[in-house]
Amino acid sequence: MGAAVNLSDIVFRWRKSGPVVLNIPSLSVATGEKAFVSGPSGSGKTTLLNVLGCVAVPEEGRATVLGESIGELSAARRDSFRADRIGIIFQQFNLIPYLSVLDNVLLPCRFSGLRRQNAGGAAPQIAARARDILARLELPVETLIDRPATSLSVGQQQRVAAARALIGSPDLVIADEPTSSLDEDARKSFIDLLFREIEKNSQTLIFVSHDRRLEGMFDRTVALDRVNRVSPTGISV
C-alpha cells in the first residue's frame, strides 16, 4: 500500500498577490495510518486541510491525494473526488442547522453516488446504515435521529459529524480540531470511537489539532510548524 497523501515542494497562496501560506518540501501519510498534525494557530493548518480536501490547489509542487494528483483535476472532478473519497469533520458548527440529524448524516450520500453505493444503495439501507453508525458512536439514535441538528449538545453534534464523515466509507477521513470544544472525558471517548470505526474499515485518518496531549494516541505526529517553511507572519524561512 502506498501513501494516502503525498505532498512535495508545494507552495500555496490564497490570492495571487497574497502572502505564501504553505511551503512544504515534503509531507506524506501512509494508507491506513492515523496521523496527528500539530501546529500552533497560524501555522497553516486550515489551509493544509483545504489542500488535502482538494478545495485549494497549490500553485507549485505536486499534491497527491489517494493516488490522484489534484493539480491535474478540473474543479468539478476535484469536487466529485472529494465527495466520493474524503470524509471531513470540523472543529464545530459541523451540522446544517435546519436539517435533521439523519439528513445531516446522509448528506454525503446525496452528493456522491459511490458513497451511496458503499452505504447500501437504496434509501432504506442507507438510513439503516446511518442509524448503525450513530449507534456505534454511542448516540441515543431513536431519541435524536429526527431532531433538528442544533438541538443536540456539542459533544453529540461532533459525533453526528463523525458519522457523516464515516458513512459510505471514504478512504480518507480528515478531522480539523474536532475535539476542541469537548471536555476531557468526551474528547477521549470521541477519539476512541473514531479510531474504532477507522480501524474497522481500514481508513486513513488525518487529525489536526494544536492540543499535543492527544498525540500519544496516534501512529505518528507531523509537526506542521516544522514541516511548513512559512512563519506565522507569512514570511518564508
Partner: protein, 420 residues
C-alpha cells in the same frame, strides 16, 4: 435521499419570517398585476355588453364620448336637449325600425331616473342580444308608474307597489324633491350587470308631469298642480335628452348618421356605439398603460426585495455553504440551491398572488358593481394571466442568478473552511 430542492425548502423554512414577508411582497405585486389586467378586460367586456343592437345614438351636438357616457352609462349630464319635434321627424325616417327616447336629469336617492317609453322594454338589448326582463310586476302603463333596475330594488329594499319620490337633479342628495307626485313601483327588472340595474325607469309623461308646475329647476310659487289634475293635462314632452335608433338595415347606418348630423333645424349628433366605445378605449388607453407599467414595476420591486433578502442571508450562510462543499456539493449545487430558493419564492408568491386576487375580487365585486355599475365576472385564469404568472416565475429564477453567483464566489473563496 434528500434532493437539493428539499435542502432549499428546509433552508427557507428556517428563515420563515423574512421568507414569508418576501413571498407576501411578491404575492401583492402579482395580485396588482393580474388585478389591473382583469379589471381592464372585464371593464371593456362590461362596457361592450351595455348596449347591443343599437345602430345609432342621437343627442344634442357635443362629443361622441360624452354622448355615449350620459346616454348609455348614465355618467355625466347632457349639455343640451333635443326637441320633441326633431325626434319625431327623425324617428319617422323610412330607414328607422325603432327608437327609444331617453330623458335624463332626475334621480331617486342617488340612482338616475330615466324617462322613456315602453319601446325601451321591447327593443333595448344588452350583452349581445339579451332582452330586458321583468322579474316581478309589469312595465309602466300609468303616468306615475316606475320600473326599477335590480340593484335599485335590492339596495333600497323596494317591492312592487311601494311608493317612491323622485328628486330633482342628479346629486345623491336632491336639491328638491317632487314630493307632491309620488310614483308607484310597477315592476322590477332582472339583473343585467349594466347601468340598467342602477336606473329608475318612468314614462316620458311621468317626467313631464312632475315638472309641469316647475320652471328653471324650482317649483313655481303659487302654482300647484296636484297628481290627479295633472293626468288630465297634455303630458307630451317638449324635449328629450337623447334617443337610441335601430335601423331596418345595417347598410343604412352611415347614410342615417350623415342625415342626422346634417339636420338643419337643430344641431344634432349621431354616433355609432361601437365607434364611440373604441374612442373611449383610446382615451383610457394611456391610463391603462400607465397602470400596467406601474404594476410591472411593482412586480420588479417585489423581485428585487427577494434578491435583497437572499443576498443579505448569504453572509450568515457562509458556513452552511462550506459544510455543503465539504460533504461533496459541487459549485453548481451551491448555485442551483440559490436559484431554486428564488424560483420557489417567486412560484409561491405567484400562486399566493392568484389566491389574493380571487379573495380580493370576491370582496371587491359587490362594491365595484354598486359603485360603478361594472359587472366583473369571476372567471378562471386566462391564457394571458398564465403567461404573466409564467413570466413572474421566470423573472424570479433569473433574479436568483444574482445571489447564486454571489454565493458561488464566496463559497469558492471560502472553500470548506470559513476563514473569518
Amino acid at each position: 435521499m434528500i434532493p437539493l430542492l428539499r435542502i432549499a425548502l428546509r433552508s427557507l423554512a428556517s428563515r420563515r419570517v423574512t421568507v414569508l414577508l418576501t413571498v407576501f411582497a411578491i404575492a401583492v405585486s402579482v395580485t396588482l398585476l393580474l388585478g389591473v389586467e382583469r379589471i381592464r378586460t372585464e371593464a371593456r367586456a362590461s362596457f361592450s355588453n351595455t348596449v347591443s343592437g343599437t345602430d345609432l345614438i342621437v343627442g344634442a351636438r357635443s362629443g361622441s364620448v360624452p354622448l355615449l357616457l350620459y346616454s348609455v352609462f348614465r355618467i355625466g349630464s347632457a349639455t343640451n336637449n333635443i326637441s320633441w319635434r326633431s325626434y319625431q321627424e327623425i324617428a319617422s325616417d323610412p330607414d328607422v325600425a325603432w327608437t327609444i327616447p331617453l330623458s335624463l336629469g332626475d334621480s331617486h336617492r342617488g340612482f338616475r331616473v330615466l324617462g322613456t317609453n315602453t319601446d325601451y322594454f321591447r327593443h333595448f338589448r344588452y350583452a349581445r342580444a339579451r332582452k330586458l326582463e321583468i322579474v316581478s310586476g309589469k312595465p309602466f302603463d300609468d303616468v306615475f308608474d316606475a320600473v326599477l333596475g335590480a340593484n335599485v330594488a335590492e339596495k333600497l329594499g323596494y317591492n312592487v307597489g311601494d311608493s317612491i319620490v323622485i328628486d330633482h337633479g342628479v346629486g345623491s342628495i336632491g336639491f328638491a324633491s317632487h314630493t307632491d307626485k309620488p310614483f308607484r313601483v310597477s315592476g322590477i327588472l332582472v339583473k343585467t350587470g349594466t347601468p340598467v340595474d342602477q336606473t329608475v325607469h318612468v314614462s316620458l309623461a311621468g317626467i313631464e308631469a312632475i315638472h309641469i308646475d316647475w320652471r328653471s329647476g324650482a317649483p313655481v310659487p303659487g302654482l300647484r298642480v296636484d297628481a290627479d289634475r295633472v293626468r288630465q293635462m297634455n303630458l307630451q314632452p317638449r324635449a328629450i335628452t337623447a334617443f337610441l335608433v335601430g335601423l331596418k338595415s345595417r347598410f343604412a347606418t352611415f347614410g342615417m348618421q350623415r342625415r342626422v348630423n346634417e339636420f338643419s333645424k337643430e344641431p344634432l349628433l349621431a354616433i355609432l356605439p361601437g365607434v364611440a366605445l373604441h374612442e373611449l378605449w383610446s382615451l383610457m388607453g394611456t391610463a391603462e398603460n400607465a397602470l400596467s407599467a406601474i404594476s410591472l414595476f411593482v412586480v420588479a420591486a417585489g423581485l428585487i426585495g427577494m434578491v435583497t433578502m437572499l443576498m443579505a442571508s448569504l453572509n450568515e450562510r457562509r458556513r452552511e455553504m462550506a459544510i455543503l462543499r465539504s460533504v461533496g456539493a459541487r459549485a453548481y449545487h451551491i448555485f442551483s440551491l440559490l436559484v431554486l430558493e428564488a424560483g420557489f419564492l417567486s412560484a409561491i408568491g405567484a400562486i399566493l398572488g392568484v389566491v389574493f386576487l380571487y379573495v380580493g375580487l370576491f370582496f371587491a365585486l359587490p362594491v365595484i358593481e354598486a359603485q360603478y355599475g361594472l359587472f366583473i365576472a369571476i372567471n378562471t385564469l386566462s391564457g394571458n394571466d398564465l403567461l404573466y404568472l409564467g413570466a413572474v416565475f421566470a423573472a424570479g429564477l433569473l433574479a436568483g442568478v444574482i445571489p447564486a453567483f454571489a454565493a458561488l464566489r464566496t463559497s469558492l473563496a471560502d472553500g470548506m473552511i470559513v476563514r473569518t
